[in-house]
């Protein structure tokens, strides 16, 4: 392949794949060279706006304090303060995003972080691009273009994100290990495919977060195929889940 001016990146880019089954949620899948899918959860408008407001507040306070302190130093201090104003206006986000794993203080509080489209940590070039182009997202007033773009994009990107190839995602925290309800391990009366198997396990794992009535209602759906009375369906499903999990 001849090397042109726009030479290809050293690694073939990993394109996000959208599965037809994932219609309702906004998860963003990235296939890695190891052949597995990374799941990223893009953050929506509200949490991003909140994170930005927090950052704005922090920057305002920072500038206020330094102006008061450096103002005491006279003109030399004002020179420093001007340089600082420049740094805070144009570089605050870039420095935090690159040096603090994609998180400005506001994003950190909201549990967000910035990554490249392929799930790698954001670098200097991409971070600079997305934050310089913020200037256009603000236009014509109050982030109008940014908001429109964010609401229109399947991964909630503003214009700067589209150009820089970045994504704002949630940092997931793992919920506590769920304990399966006590039940006698059973074997399912018929062969289960993967989705069914996972659905049964999911029901047993998440049972504690549902009300008893809702659990009964959900379990009743399966009463007929499992050939049990409605009242016993929940117990039966828990038993099958135990059986699938194996002896602990």
């Amino acid at each position: 392949m001849p090397h042109s001016a726009t030479s290809p990146p050293p690694r073939a880019p990993r394109r996000p794949v959208r599965r037809p089954t994932a219609l309702l949620d906004t998860r963003y899948q990235v296939e890695t060279p190891e052949g597995i899918d990374l799941l990223l959860r893009p953050a929506g408008l509200v949490s991003r706006a909140l994170a930005f407001s927090i950052d704005l507040l922090i920057r305002g306070l920072l500038l206020l304090v330094t102006y008061v302190v450096l103002g005491l130093l006279g003109k030399f201090g004002m020179g420093l303060a001007t340089i600082l104003l420049f740094l805070v206006t144009w570089w605050y986000m870039v420095l935090f995003e690159v040096l603090n794993q994609g998180r400005s203080p506001g994003k950190q509080m909201l549990g967000l972080r910035v990554v490249h489209d392929d799930g790698t940590p954001v670098g200097w070039a991409a971070s600079l691009t997305r934050n310089l182009l913020r200037f256009v997202d603000i236009l014509p007033f109050g982030y109008t273009l940014g908001i429109l773009s964010c609401l229109n994009h399947p991964a909630f990107k503003r214009l700067g994100d589209i150009a820089a190839g970045t994504l704002v995602v949630y940092r997931d925290t793992l919920p506590a290990q769920p304990s399966l309800p006590q039940a006698e391990p059973l074997v399912a009366p018929f062969a289960l495919d993967l989705a069914e198997q996972r659905a049964l396990l999911g029901f047993a794992e998440r049972g504690a977060s549902l009300s008893a009535e809702r659990r009964a209602e959900l379990a009743a759906i399966l009463a007929e195929p499992l050939q049990v009375p409605h009242e016993q369906a929940e117990q039966r499903i828990n038993g099958i889940a135990r059986g699938l999990l194996g002896p602990t």
Binding site: T6, K75, F86, L159, G246
Partner: protein, 326 residues
Amino acid sequence: MKQSLFESRHQADWQAFAGQLDALERGKADRQQCKGFAANYRRLCQQLALAQARGYSNHLVEQLQQLVLRGHQQFYRHRSPLGAQLIGFLLAGFPRLVRAEWRCVLIASLVFFGSLLTMGVLVYLFPELIYSLVDPEQVASMEQMYDPDARRLGRFGERHSADDWLMFGFYIMNNIGIAFQTFASGLLLGLGSLFFLLFNGLMIGAVAGHLSQIGYGETFWSFVIGHGAFELTAIALAGGAGLKLGWALLAPGRLPRSEALRLAAGRSVRLVGGVIVFLLLAAFIEAYWSSMTFAAPTVKYAVGAGLWLLVLSYLLLAGRGAHALD
């Protein structure tokens, strides 16, 4: 294999890997700790694939997925052009990039310098024309700044050496801000960049023409010629970078618009990197050399011409060697 057995067999590995990740994320991992990271990461990926294929519970799959994501973040990095490659970029990469993007740069330069020269000549010939562009108060303050009787020159007239700091800060803030705006507004189909190029060209041209016409030419030109070499070129380059963004949206070729924009942005942000360096140099020269009055105007003209020659030959010639530093 049942899920519980799978979990109990590998739990220790996962915890060890999580420990390794913690150390890496805090940036405190030593050589010993990083040992075997790649192998552990690949094994984890395989275990995740197995867990998914065997239909293990959501909680386990999610736990593995998060570990893999954290591992992926540590394992794969984009090499960023502003890091270790900075020197190579300044010595060869930047001028090469400017030459590779000569179309956008040429258009931006024509718009900027063209409007600057035209407006300058027009105002020189028809002096009252400046008041259609600049309001009288600003004109008066400009005249005061470049009054030949002032001891020092520049935007604040009389000042002492401690003020150089103030000026340095002011120039950085003002000029880089303008350059960033010129670049970023290129995203509006290139119109924003064109506007800022034209606007700044007209303003500078009008002021230059006016000051020359009323006889303050020597103080003005000897002041601006030095840093102008870096500053004006930088604004033209920033405009060129902005036009590239706009062009990617207007004519994306065979790519989707978002993809074309992403590729164009990757290149033009590197141009902006060079622009920042130029403007830092310009601010330094403006604060510490241009504003001094001890040097005779002829010396300033000579130094200024030298700087213009330096900038042009840097952009046109640097990095042409077959084995240039990279």
